[in-house]
Subunit: 143 residues, 2 copies
């Protein structure tokens, strides 16, 4: 593997959302007691919004007021050896979903991380989407 023959390129917004939709795991980034915090969660992309379901309710939900709070969300697929791969980062407002019908629908669509634990469904509306990919210089795809 040549370490010379690689370059980082940006992914367009639509392609970034497609990549997010292709994977089911990511990490939500939020502020907790004035400190940066992060938790791995699973997600789906629904009507250009990110929906996450998490059992770590207290940490995230306490930060998600009715009018929402700004969070970041990151998902990636990066090869642990070559380091080739892509990462997509979303910044946007997160709100707790409270409508029982919506909750029921997303609970069917999204597998919980751990069964039988109280969990929450959160919608993130992407405002800023940053995607990039590290590829070989000849353009061959990554992980």
């Amino acid at each position: 593997m040549s370490r010379q023959a690689r370059r980082l390129h940006e992914l367009p917004r639509a392609e970034s959302l497609r990549r997010l939709a292709r994977v089911s795991l990511g990490r939500i980034v939020f502020t907790q007691q004035a400190l940066p915090a992060i938790r791995p969660v699973n997600h789906l992309v629904d009507n250009r919004n990110l929906i996450i379901r998490t059992h770590i309710g207290a940490a995230i939900v306490s930060a998600v007021h009715d009018d929402g709070v700004v969070v970041a969300y990151e998902a990636d697929a990066i090869d642990p050896v070559s380091h080739l791969g892509w990462s997509v980062i979303v910044q946007g407002r997160a709100v707790l979903i409270r409508n029982p019908a919506e909750i029921a629908r997303y609970q069917c669509l999204l597998r919980p991380w751990v069964l039988n634990q109280m969990d929450y469904v959160v919608r993130i509306h992407p405002e800023i989407i940053t995607g990039f990919e590290l590829v070989n210089e000849d353009g061959s795809p990554s992980a």
Copy 2:
């Protein structure tokens, strides 16, 4: 795969650091313009500190003053299908390494993400370490 037979358990601090040291990729979480931000980077564990090297200098370094800023760092190994696996989250103060000898040493030890780009070396002293693992109920290991 039975979805019933799984449980989440905490990892002790020492084991969490060992897991971090076993992987080379993670995500630094910081505050940028008062918003939560995250970037994938590569790291090593050196004398119980996390050392990261990143080409995305401006985003992180602008937040890392001489006296440091509190950041979070997350690394994981989670199976994309079974969702079994582990995650370790560190919170602590990050400082930019400015000593040329230290920089040179870490530049040898840590592979840069992309060659020929200006990069920075940052040390994170872990203050809070949170590790957890999702395993099958019989205790068999995950990813």
